[in-house]
Protein backbone atom coordinates (compact mmCIF):
# COMPACT_ATOMS: atom_id res chain seq x y z
CA UNK A 1 0.00 0.00 0.00
CA UNK A 2 1.97 2.93 1.28
CA UNK A 3 5.27 1.54 0.03
CA UNK A 4 4.21 1.89 -3.60
CA UNK A 5 2.66 5.35 -3.36
CA UNK A 6 2.97 7.61 -0.35
CA UNK A 7 -0.70 8.42 0.04
CA UNK A 8 -2.35 5.87 -2.26
CA UNK A 9 -5.44 4.77 -0.42
CA UNK A 10 -6.01 8.15 1.23
CA UNK A 11 -5.98 9.91 -2.12
CA UNK A 12 -8.22 7.22 -3.62
CA UNK A 13 -10.65 7.59 -0.70
CA UNK A 14 -10.79 3.84 -0.16
CA UNK A 15 -13.09 2.33 2.47
CA UNK A 16 -10.20 0.59 4.18
CA UNK A 17 -6.87 2.34 4.47
CA UNK A 18 -3.81 1.32 6.47
CA UNK A 19 -2.33 4.74 5.88
CA UNK A 20 -5.32 6.30 7.63
CA UNK A 21 -4.93 4.01 10.64
CA UNK A 22 -1.29 4.95 10.97
CA UNK A 23 -1.49 8.69 10.45
CA UNK A 24 -4.65 9.32 12.49
CA UNK A 25 -3.86 6.94 15.30
CA UNK A 26 -3.95 9.56 18.06
CA UNK A 27 -7.25 10.96 16.76
CA UNK A 28 -8.77 7.48 16.83
CA UNK A 29 -7.46 6.82 20.34
CA UNK A 30 -8.81 10.14 21.62
CA UNK A 31 -12.24 9.46 20.13
CA UNK A 32 -12.32 5.94 21.57
CA UNK A 33 -11.33 7.21 25.02
CA UNK A 34 -14.06 9.87 24.89
CA UNK A 35 -16.55 7.23 23.78
CA UNK A 36 -15.61 4.96 26.68
CA UNK A 37 -15.80 7.59 29.41
CA UNK A 38 -19.10 9.03 28.24
CA UNK A 39 -20.63 5.55 28.19
CA UNK A 40 -19.05 4.47 31.48
CA UNK A 41 -20.09 7.60 33.39
CA UNK A 42 -23.64 7.30 32.07
CA UNK A 43 -23.97 3.64 33.04
CA UNK A 44 -22.50 4.27 36.51
CA UNK A 45 -24.94 7.09 37.21
CA UNK A 46 -27.82 5.04 35.81
CA UNK A 47 -27.03 2.08 38.08
CA UNK A 48 -26.74 4.37 41.11
CA UNK A 49 -30.19 5.79 40.31
CA UNK A 50 -31.89 2.61 39.14
CA UNK A 51 -31.23 0.44 42.19
CA UNK A 52 -32.85 2.83 44.72
CA UNK A 53 -35.70 3.43 42.27
CA UNK A 54 -36.33 -0.29 41.90
CA UNK A 55 -36.13 -0.83 45.67
CA UNK A 56 -38.58 2.05 46.20
CA UNK A 57 -40.92 0.73 43.50
CA UNK A 58 -40.90 -2.63 45.28
CA UNK A 59 -41.45 -1.22 48.79
CA UNK A 60 -44.15 1.28 47.90
CA UNK A 61 -46.65 -0.16 45.45
CA UNK A 62 -47.80 3.35 44.58
CA UNK A 63 -44.36 4.23 43.18
CA UNK A 64 -44.28 1.20 40.90
CA UNK A 65 -46.73 2.32 38.22
CA UNK A 66 -45.31 5.84 37.80
CA UNK A 67 -41.68 4.63 37.85
CA UNK A 68 -42.31 2.11 35.08
CA UNK A 69 -44.52 4.48 33.08
CA UNK A 70 -42.03 7.36 33.12
CA UNK A 71 -39.07 5.19 32.14
CA UNK A 72 -41.09 3.58 29.33
CA UNK A 73 -42.10 6.98 27.94
CA UNK A 74 -38.46 8.11 28.06
CA UNK A 75 -37.50 5.00 26.10
CA UNK A 76 -39.91 5.91 23.32
CA UNK A 77 -38.34 9.34 22.70
CA UNK A 78 -35.93 9.09 19.73
CA UNK A 79 -32.29 9.74 20.64
CA UNK A 80 -31.79 12.77 18.41
CA UNK A 81 -34.86 14.37 20.00
CA UNK A 82 -33.68 13.43 23.49
CA UNK A 83 -30.31 15.11 23.02
CA UNK A 84 -31.96 18.11 21.35
CA UNK A 85 -34.39 18.51 24.26
CA UNK A 86 -31.51 18.45 26.75
CA UNK A 87 -29.58 21.07 24.78
CA UNK A 88 -31.16 24.13 26.41
CA UNK A 89 -30.61 22.61 29.86
CA UNK A 90 -26.90 21.86 29.54
CA UNK A 91 -25.75 23.79 26.46
CA UNK A 92 -23.23 22.22 24.06
CA UNK A 93 -21.59 19.90 26.57
CA UNK A 94 -20.95 16.25 27.31
CA UNK A 95 -23.63 16.47 30.01
CA UNK A 96 -26.28 16.43 27.25
CA UNK A 97 -25.08 13.05 26.01
CA UNK A 98 -24.45 11.56 29.46
CA UNK A 99 -27.88 12.62 30.74
CA UNK A 100 -29.62 11.25 27.65
CA UNK A 101 -27.84 7.91 28.03
CA UNK A 102 -28.70 7.78 31.75
CA UNK A 103 -32.38 8.32 30.98
CA UNK A 104 -32.40 5.51 28.38
CA UNK A 105 -30.46 3.11 30.60
CA UNK A 106 -32.88 3.66 33.49
CA UNK A 107 -35.66 1.88 31.60
CA UNK A 108 -33.78 -1.38 31.26
CA UNK A 109 -32.10 -1.19 34.66
CA UNK A 110 -35.19 -0.37 36.74
CA UNK A 111 -37.21 -3.07 34.98
CA UNK A 112 -34.55 -5.75 35.37
CA UNK A 113 -33.69 -4.90 38.98
CA UNK A 114 -37.36 -4.89 39.90
CA UNK A 115 -37.88 -8.25 38.20
CA UNK A 116 -34.83 -9.58 40.04
CA UNK A 117 -36.10 -8.33 43.43
CA UNK A 118 -39.53 -9.78 42.81
CA UNK A 119 -38.06 -13.15 41.90
CA UNK A 120 -36.27 -13.47 45.26
CA UNK A 121 -37.70 -16.69 46.72
CA UNK A 122 -40.09 -16.19 49.62
CA UNK A 123 -38.26 -18.91 51.58
CA UNK A 124 -35.00 -16.97 51.42
CA UNK A 125 -36.50 -13.80 52.90
CA UNK A 126 -38.49 -15.78 55.48
CA UNK A 127 -35.39 -17.66 56.56
CA UNK A 128 -33.41 -14.41 56.88
CA UNK A 129 -36.18 -12.81 58.93
CA UNK A 130 -36.29 -15.89 61.13
CA UNK A 131 -32.57 -15.50 61.72
CA UNK A 132 -33.25 -11.99 62.98
CA UNK A 133 -32.27 -9.92 59.90
CA UNK A 134 -33.62 -6.37 59.98
CA UNK A 135 -35.02 -4.76 56.80
CA UNK A 136 -31.69 -3.08 55.92
CA UNK A 137 -29.61 -6.18 56.36
CA UNK A 138 -32.23 -8.23 54.52
CA UNK A 139 -32.03 -5.85 51.56
CA UNK A 140 -28.24 -5.66 51.34
CA UNK A 141 -27.32 -9.20 52.31
CA UNK A 142 -30.15 -11.26 50.84
CA UNK A 143 -32.39 -9.45 48.35
CA UNK A 144 -29.88 -7.35 46.39
CA UNK A 145 -27.32 -10.16 46.02
CA UNK A 146 -30.08 -12.45 44.74
CA UNK A 147 -31.23 -9.73 42.32
CA UNK A 148 -27.67 -9.14 41.12
CA UNK A 149 -27.78 -11.48 38.08
CA UNK A 150 -30.89 -9.68 36.79
CA UNK A 151 -29.31 -6.27 37.43
CA UNK A 152 -26.09 -7.27 35.66
CA UNK A 153 -28.01 -8.66 32.69
CA UNK A 154 -29.67 -5.23 32.51
CA UNK A 155 -26.29 -3.49 32.75
CA UNK A 156 -25.06 -5.50 29.76
CA UNK A 157 -28.05 -4.54 27.62
CA UNK A 158 -27.87 -0.90 28.73
CA UNK A 159 -24.12 -0.70 28.08
CA UNK A 160 -24.25 -2.16 24.58
CA UNK A 161 -27.14 0.17 23.76
CA UNK A 162 -25.31 3.17 25.23
CA UNK A 163 -22.14 2.47 23.23
CA UNK A 164 -24.13 2.63 20.02
CA UNK A 165 -26.24 5.64 21.10
CA UNK A 166 -23.18 7.68 22.10
CA UNK A 167 -22.47 8.14 18.37
CA UNK A 168 -25.54 10.42 18.13
CA UNK A 169 -23.81 12.70 20.64
CA UNK A 170 -21.85 13.96 17.63
CA UNK A 171 -24.72 16.39 17.10
CA UNK A 172 -23.48 18.35 20.15
CA UNK A 173 -19.82 17.51 19.49
CA UNK A 174 -19.49 14.85 22.19
CA UNK A 175 -20.08 11.60 20.35
CA UNK A 176 -16.72 9.88 20.79
CA UNK A 177 -16.28 7.78 17.66
CA UNK A 178 -19.53 9.32 16.43
CA UNK A 179 -17.67 12.61 15.96
CA UNK A 180 -15.37 10.88 13.47
CA UNK A 181 -18.36 9.34 11.66
CA UNK A 182 -20.05 12.75 11.54
CA UNK A 183 -16.95 14.56 10.26
CA UNK A 184 -16.24 11.74 7.80
CA UNK A 185 -19.80 12.02 6.51
CA UNK A 186 -19.49 15.77 5.93
CA UNK A 187 -16.11 15.50 4.16
CA UNK A 188 -17.03 12.20 2.40
CA UNK A 189 -14.00 10.51 4.01
CA UNK A 190 -14.86 6.82 3.65
CA UNK A 191 -11.94 5.30 5.60
CA UNK A 192 -12.73 7.46 8.62
CA UNK A 193 -16.43 6.54 8.64
CA UNK A 194 -15.81 2.80 8.28
CA UNK A 195 -12.95 2.66 10.78
CA UNK A 196 -14.91 4.56 13.44
CA UNK A 197 -18.00 2.41 12.82
CA UNK A 198 -16.05 -0.83 13.14
CA UNK A 199 -14.32 0.41 16.30
CA UNK A 200 -17.70 1.29 17.76
CA UNK A 201 -19.08 -2.21 17.16
CA UNK A 202 -15.89 -3.74 18.58
CA UNK A 203 -16.23 -1.54 21.65
CA UNK A 204 -19.81 -2.73 22.21
CA UNK A 205 -18.84 -6.39 21.83
CA UNK A 206 -15.81 -5.96 24.10
CA UNK A 207 -17.91 -4.26 26.78
CA UNK A 208 -20.44 -7.08 26.57
CA UNK A 209 -17.77 -9.77 26.96
CA UNK A 210 -16.12 -7.98 29.89
CA UNK A 211 -19.46 -7.51 31.66
CA UNK A 212 -20.30 -11.16 31.09
CA UNK A 213 -17.00 -12.10 32.76
CA UNK A 214 -17.80 -9.73 35.64
CA UNK A 215 -21.26 -11.25 35.94
CA UNK A 216 -19.81 -14.77 36.12
CA UNK A 217 -17.22 -13.70 38.69
CA UNK A 218 -19.70 -11.87 40.92
CA UNK A 219 -22.46 -14.44 40.84
CA UNK A 220 -20.82 -17.88 40.74
CA UNK A 221 -23.96 -19.49 42.15
CA UNK A 222 -26.10 -18.68 39.11
CA UNK A 223 -24.40 -21.34 37.00
CA UNK A 224 -25.41 -24.23 39.20
CA UNK A 225 -28.84 -22.69 39.71
CA UNK A 226 -29.36 -22.34 36.02
CA UNK A 227 -28.51 -25.98 35.54
CA UNK A 228 -31.07 -26.89 38.15
CA UNK A 229 -33.64 -24.67 36.54
CA UNK A 230 -32.98 -26.25 33.18
CA UNK A 231 -33.52 -29.62 34.82
CA UNK A 232 -37.16 -28.86 35.36
CA UNK A 233 -38.14 -26.25 37.94
CA UNK A 234 -39.98 -23.28 36.42
CA UNK A 235 -37.95 -20.16 35.85
CA UNK A 236 -40.15 -17.76 37.73
CA UNK A 237 -41.38 -14.38 36.50
CA UNK A 238 -37.95 -12.85 36.02
CA UNK A 239 -36.69 -15.56 33.74
CA UNK A 240 -37.48 -13.80 30.48
CA UNK A 241 -36.26 -10.42 31.62
CA UNK A 242 -33.10 -11.57 33.29
CA UNK A 243 -31.95 -14.90 31.89
CA UNK A 244 -28.57 -15.08 33.56
CA UNK A 245 -26.79 -14.69 30.26
CA UNK A 246 -28.79 -11.63 29.36
CA UNK A 247 -29.39 -13.60 26.21
CA UNK A 248 -33.09 -13.06 25.85
CA UNK A 249 -34.30 -9.71 27.12
CA UNK A 250 -37.96 -8.81 27.14
CA UNK A 251 -38.85 -8.89 23.46
CA UNK A 252 -40.22 -5.39 23.04
CA UNK A 253 -37.17 -3.68 24.48
CA UNK A 254 -35.16 -5.28 21.72
CA UNK A 255 -34.63 -2.17 19.68
CA UNK A 256 -33.34 1.10 20.95
CA UNK A 257 -30.92 2.08 18.33
CA UNK A 258 -32.41 5.22 16.82
Amino acid sequence: MSSTSPEGCLAANDWWCGEYLRTRQSELVDATVEHIWITAVAILIAVLLAVPLAVAARRWRAARGPALAVTTILYTVPSLAMFALLLPVFGLSAAVVVTGLVLYSLTVLVRNTLAGLEAVPQEATEAARGMGYGPGRLLFEVELPLALPALLAGVRIATVTAVSLTTIGAIVGYGGLGNLIYDGMESWFKAQVLTASVLCVLLAVLADVLLLALQRALTPWTRSRRRRRAAGSPGGPAATASGADGGAPAPQLAGRAG
Binding site: I73, T76, V77, P78, S79, L80, A81, M82, A84, L85, L87, P88, V89, F90, G91, R111, A115, I157, V160, T161, V163, S164, L165, T167, I168, A170, I171, G178, I181, Y182, G184, M185, W188, K190, V193, L194, A196, S197, C200, V201, A204, V205, D208, P237, A239, T240, A241, G247, A248, A250, P251, Q252, L253, A254, G255, R256, A257, G258
Partner: protein, 262 residues
Protein backbone atom coordinates in the same frame (compact mmCIF):
# COMPACT_ATOMS: atom_id res chain seq x y z
CA UNK B 1 -29.32 27.61 33.59
CA UNK B 2 -31.49 30.03 35.47
CA UNK B 3 -35.25 29.98 35.64
CA UNK B 4 -35.39 33.08 33.43
CA UNK B 5 -33.31 31.34 30.73
CA UNK B 6 -35.56 28.34 30.91
CA UNK B 7 -38.68 30.48 30.56
CA UNK B 8 -37.22 32.25 27.56
CA UNK B 9 -36.53 28.89 25.89
CA UNK B 10 -40.10 27.84 26.54
CA UNK B 11 -41.57 31.04 25.10
CA UNK B 12 -39.16 31.02 22.12
CA UNK B 13 -40.08 27.42 21.32
CA UNK B 14 -43.76 28.17 21.70
CA UNK B 15 -43.58 31.15 19.40
CA UNK B 16 -41.56 29.17 16.84
CA UNK B 17 -44.18 26.44 16.86
CA UNK B 18 -47.07 28.89 16.60
CA UNK B 19 -45.64 30.80 13.65
CA UNK B 20 -47.76 29.71 10.69
CA UNK B 21 -44.94 30.06 8.17
CA UNK B 22 -42.86 27.47 10.00
CA UNK B 23 -45.59 24.94 9.26
CA UNK B 24 -46.34 25.72 5.65
CA UNK B 25 -43.06 26.98 4.17
CA UNK B 26 -40.76 24.94 1.93
CA UNK B 27 -38.97 22.55 4.29
CA UNK B 28 -41.46 23.45 7.02
CA UNK B 29 -43.12 21.24 9.60
CA UNK B 30 -45.90 19.89 7.37
CA UNK B 31 -43.54 18.89 4.56
CA UNK B 32 -41.12 17.23 7.01
CA UNK B 33 -43.95 15.49 8.84
CA UNK B 34 -45.23 14.13 5.51
CA UNK B 35 -41.76 12.82 4.63
CA UNK B 36 -41.41 11.28 8.05
CA UNK B 37 -44.76 9.49 7.87
CA UNK B 38 -44.12 8.35 4.29
CA UNK B 39 -40.70 6.94 5.18
CA UNK B 40 -42.04 5.24 8.32
CA UNK B 41 -45.06 3.80 6.51
CA UNK B 42 -43.16 2.45 3.50
CA UNK B 43 -40.50 0.89 5.70
CA UNK B 44 -43.06 -0.61 8.08
CA UNK B 45 -44.83 -2.24 5.14
CA UNK B 46 -41.55 -3.63 3.76
CA UNK B 47 -40.55 -4.86 7.22
CA UNK B 48 -43.87 -6.65 7.72
CA UNK B 49 -43.72 -8.28 4.29
CA UNK B 50 -40.19 -9.52 4.96
CA UNK B 51 -40.40 -10.46 8.64
CA UNK B 52 -43.91 -11.78 9.25
CA UNK B 53 -43.96 -14.78 6.87
CA UNK B 54 -40.47 -15.81 7.95
CA UNK B 55 -41.18 -15.46 11.68
CA UNK B 56 -44.56 -17.22 11.47
CA UNK B 57 -43.08 -20.08 9.47
CA UNK B 58 -40.09 -20.49 11.80
CA UNK B 59 -42.36 -20.31 14.83
CA UNK B 60 -44.74 -22.83 13.27
CA UNK B 61 -42.03 -25.40 12.57
CA UNK B 62 -40.28 -24.47 15.83
CA UNK B 63 -36.84 -23.75 14.44
CA UNK B 64 -34.49 -20.79 14.46
CA UNK B 65 -35.18 -19.53 17.96
CA UNK B 66 -31.52 -18.83 18.66
CA UNK B 67 -31.36 -16.91 15.39
CA UNK B 68 -34.30 -14.69 16.36
CA UNK B 69 -32.68 -13.79 19.69
CA UNK B 70 -29.18 -13.33 18.31
CA UNK B 71 -30.33 -11.02 15.53
CA UNK B 72 -31.83 -8.59 18.01
CA UNK B 73 -28.79 -8.81 20.28
CA UNK B 74 -26.44 -8.11 17.39
CA UNK B 75 -28.65 -5.29 16.16
CA UNK B 76 -28.19 -3.51 19.46
CA UNK B 77 -24.41 -3.36 19.10
CA UNK B 78 -24.48 -1.75 15.65
CA UNK B 79 -24.97 2.03 15.73
CA UNK B 80 -27.89 3.13 13.55
CA UNK B 81 -26.09 6.34 12.73
CA UNK B 82 -23.05 4.44 11.40
CA UNK B 83 -25.20 2.21 9.17
CA UNK B 84 -27.13 5.21 7.82
CA UNK B 85 -23.93 7.05 6.94
CA UNK B 86 -22.16 3.98 5.53
CA UNK B 87 -25.10 3.09 3.29
CA UNK B 88 -25.62 6.64 2.07
CA UNK B 89 -21.92 6.90 1.16
CA UNK B 90 -21.92 3.49 -0.48
CA UNK B 91 -23.25 2.42 -3.88
CA UNK B 92 -26.86 2.48 -2.60
CA UNK B 93 -26.52 6.20 -1.91
CA UNK B 94 -26.94 6.89 -5.62
CA UNK B 95 -30.52 5.64 -5.62
CA UNK B 96 -32.21 8.45 -3.72
CA UNK B 97 -34.04 7.31 -0.61
CA UNK B 98 -33.06 3.66 -0.93
CA UNK B 99 -30.02 3.86 1.33
CA UNK B 100 -32.25 5.33 4.05
CA UNK B 101 -35.03 2.79 3.46
CA UNK B 102 -32.64 -0.17 3.63
CA UNK B 103 -31.06 1.14 6.85
CA UNK B 104 -34.46 1.73 8.45
CA UNK B 105 -35.77 -1.71 7.50
CA UNK B 106 -32.61 -3.37 8.83
CA UNK B 107 -33.24 -1.94 12.28
CA UNK B 108 -36.99 -2.56 12.27
CA UNK B 109 -36.67 -6.25 11.35
CA UNK B 110 -35.27 -7.65 14.65
CA UNK B 111 -38.10 -6.60 17.01
CA UNK B 112 -40.78 -7.85 14.63
CA UNK B 113 -38.97 -11.13 13.91
CA UNK B 114 -38.34 -11.82 17.59
CA UNK B 115 -41.83 -10.97 18.82
CA UNK B 116 -43.75 -12.73 16.04
CA UNK B 117 -41.56 -15.81 16.38
CA UNK B 118 -41.99 -15.89 20.16
CA UNK B 119 -45.74 -15.39 19.81
CA UNK B 120 -46.25 -18.39 17.53
CA UNK B 121 -43.69 -20.52 19.31
CA UNK B 122 -45.20 -19.91 22.74
CA UNK B 123 -48.82 -20.36 21.69
CA UNK B 124 -50.35 -22.64 24.29
CA UNK B 125 -48.95 -26.07 23.48
CA UNK B 126 -51.98 -27.85 24.94
CA UNK B 127 -54.27 -25.99 22.59
CA UNK B 128 -51.97 -26.66 19.64
CA UNK B 129 -51.83 -30.36 20.51
CA UNK B 130 -55.62 -30.48 20.85
CA UNK B 131 -56.05 -28.85 17.47
CA UNK B 132 -53.64 -31.36 15.93
CA UNK B 133 -55.60 -34.15 17.57
CA UNK B 134 -58.75 -32.83 15.93
CA UNK B 135 -57.09 -33.36 12.59
CA UNK B 136 -56.15 -29.79 11.66
CA UNK B 137 -53.63 -29.44 8.87
CA UNK B 138 -50.50 -27.33 9.30
CA UNK B 139 -52.06 -24.38 7.47
CA UNK B 140 -55.29 -24.53 9.47
CA UNK B 141 -53.31 -24.79 12.68
CA UNK B 142 -51.27 -21.69 11.83
CA UNK B 143 -54.24 -19.62 10.61
CA UNK B 144 -56.86 -20.60 13.13
CA UNK B 145 -54.94 -21.41 16.31
CA UNK B 146 -51.38 -20.14 16.40
CA UNK B 147 -52.00 -16.82 14.66
CA UNK B 148 -54.88 -15.70 16.92
CA UNK B 149 -52.92 -16.76 19.98
CA UNK B 150 -49.79 -14.98 18.75
CA UNK B 151 -51.68 -11.82 17.76
CA UNK B 152 -50.79 -9.72 20.84
CA UNK B 153 -47.08 -10.39 20.52
CA UNK B 154 -47.16 -9.79 16.76
CA UNK B 155 -48.80 -6.43 17.45
CA UNK B 156 -46.16 -5.69 20.08
CA UNK B 157 -43.54 -6.44 17.44
CA UNK B 158 -45.21 -4.10 14.95
CA UNK B 159 -45.46 -1.38 17.62
CA UNK B 160 -41.79 -1.71 18.53
CA UNK B 161 -40.78 -1.75 14.88
CA UNK B 162 -42.87 1.35 14.18
CA UNK B 163 -41.44 3.31 17.11
CA UNK B 164 -37.97 2.19 16.04
CA UNK B 165 -38.71 3.42 12.50
CA UNK B 166 -39.89 6.82 13.73
CA UNK B 167 -36.64 7.13 15.71
CA UNK B 168 -34.38 5.95 12.89
CA UNK B 169 -36.18 8.12 10.34
CA UNK B 170 -35.24 11.08 12.54
CA UNK B 171 -31.58 10.15 12.23
CA UNK B 172 -31.93 9.92 8.45
CA UNK B 173 -31.74 13.73 8.50
CA UNK B 174 -28.07 13.60 9.51
CA UNK B 175 -26.79 12.22 6.18
CA UNK B 176 -29.20 14.53 4.36
CA UNK B 177 -32.46 12.57 4.24
CA UNK B 178 -35.87 14.13 4.87
CA UNK B 179 -38.19 13.90 7.83
CA UNK B 180 -38.69 15.85 11.05
CA UNK B 181 -35.05 15.32 12.01
CA UNK B 182 -34.24 18.01 9.43
CA UNK B 183 -35.88 20.62 11.68
CA UNK B 184 -33.43 19.63 14.44
CA UNK B 185 -30.31 19.52 12.25
CA UNK B 186 -31.26 22.78 10.55
CA UNK B 187 -31.73 24.37 13.98
CA UNK B 188 -28.26 23.21 15.02
CA UNK B 189 -26.87 24.62 11.77
CA UNK B 190 -28.40 28.06 12.42
CA UNK B 191 -27.78 28.10 16.18
CA UNK B 192 -31.54 28.44 16.68
CA UNK B 193 -32.19 26.52 19.89
CA UNK B 194 -35.92 27.24 19.72
CA UNK B 195 -36.14 25.37 16.42
CA UNK B 196 -34.03 22.48 17.77
CA UNK B 197 -36.30 22.09 20.78
CA UNK B 198 -39.48 22.50 18.71
CA UNK B 199 -38.32 19.82 16.26
CA UNK B 200 -37.42 17.50 19.14
CA UNK B 201 -40.85 18.01 20.72
CA UNK B 202 -42.56 17.17 17.43
CA UNK B 203 -40.45 14.02 16.98
CA UNK B 204 -41.09 12.86 20.56
CA UNK B 205 -44.82 13.58 20.19
CA UNK B 206 -44.94 11.63 16.92
CA UNK B 207 -43.18 8.62 18.49
CA UNK B 208 -45.55 8.57 21.46
CA UNK B 209 -48.56 9.09 19.19
CA UNK B 210 -47.57 6.20 16.90
CA UNK B 211 -47.13 3.94 19.89
CA UNK B 212 -50.45 5.01 21.42
CA UNK B 213 -52.40 4.57 18.18
CA UNK B 214 -50.96 1.10 17.57
CA UNK B 215 -51.81 0.05 21.12
CA UNK B 216 -55.37 1.18 20.50
CA UNK B 217 -55.47 -0.78 17.24
CA UNK B 218 -54.24 -3.86 19.08
CA UNK B 219 -57.00 -3.61 21.67
CA UNK B 220 -59.67 -3.14 19.05
CA UNK B 221 -58.43 -5.80 16.67
CA UNK B 222 -57.40 -8.64 18.99
CA UNK B 223 -59.20 -11.63 17.48
CA UNK B 224 -59.57 -13.24 20.90
CA UNK B 225 -61.67 -10.32 22.14
CA UNK B 226 -64.47 -10.76 19.66
CA UNK B 227 -65.16 -14.42 20.23
CA UNK B 228 -68.61 -14.36 21.80
CA UNK B 229 -68.09 -17.78 23.38
CA UNK B 230 -64.90 -16.90 25.26
CA UNK B 231 -65.12 -16.51 29.04
CA UNK B 232 -65.99 -12.96 30.02
CA UNK B 233 -63.03 -12.24 32.27
CA UNK B 234 -60.67 -13.35 29.57
CA UNK B 235 -61.86 -10.83 27.01
CA UNK B 236 -61.90 -8.13 29.66
CA UNK B 237 -58.21 -8.24 30.39
CA UNK B 238 -57.04 -8.82 26.86
CA UNK B 239 -55.76 -5.34 26.20
CA UNK B 240 -53.46 -5.11 29.17
CA UNK B 241 -51.29 -8.13 28.81
CA UNK B 242 -50.07 -8.01 25.25
CA UNK B 243 -47.76 -5.05 25.40
CA UNK B 244 -45.91 -5.58 28.65
CA UNK B 245 -42.83 -7.53 29.52
CA UNK B 246 -45.05 -10.28 30.89
CA UNK B 247 -43.83 -13.62 29.63
CA UNK B 248 -46.02 -14.97 26.86
CA UNK B 249 -47.17 -17.65 29.25
CA UNK B 250 -49.54 -15.11 30.74
CA UNK B 251 -51.22 -14.80 27.39
CA UNK B 252 -51.18 -18.41 26.52
CA UNK B 253 -53.91 -19.39 28.99
CA UNK B 254 -56.60 -18.81 26.45
CA UNK B 255 -59.30 -20.97 25.04
CA UNK B 256 -58.99 -22.37 21.58
CA UNK B 257 -60.83 -20.48 18.90
CA UNK B 258 -64.48 -21.31 19.11
CA UNK B 259 -64.78 -22.96 15.73
CA UNK B 260 -61.80 -25.07 14.82
CA UNK B 261 -61.25 -26.49 11.36
CA UNK B 262 -64.12 -27.10 9.04
Amino acid sequence: MTAVDFLSYVTDTFSWLTTGAHWTEEGGILQRLGEHLYLTGVCLAITCVLALPLALWLGHIGRGGALAVNISNAGRAVPTFAVLVLLSMGPLGRYGDWATIVALVLFALPPLLTNAYTGVREADRDVVEAAKGMGMTGGQLLRQVELPLAFPLIMTGIQTAAVQLVATATLAALPGGGGLGRLITAGFGNYRTAQVVAGALLVAALALLVEGVLKLVERRADPMRRRPTGPAEDTGGAGDTGNTTAPPGGRARRPAPARPGT
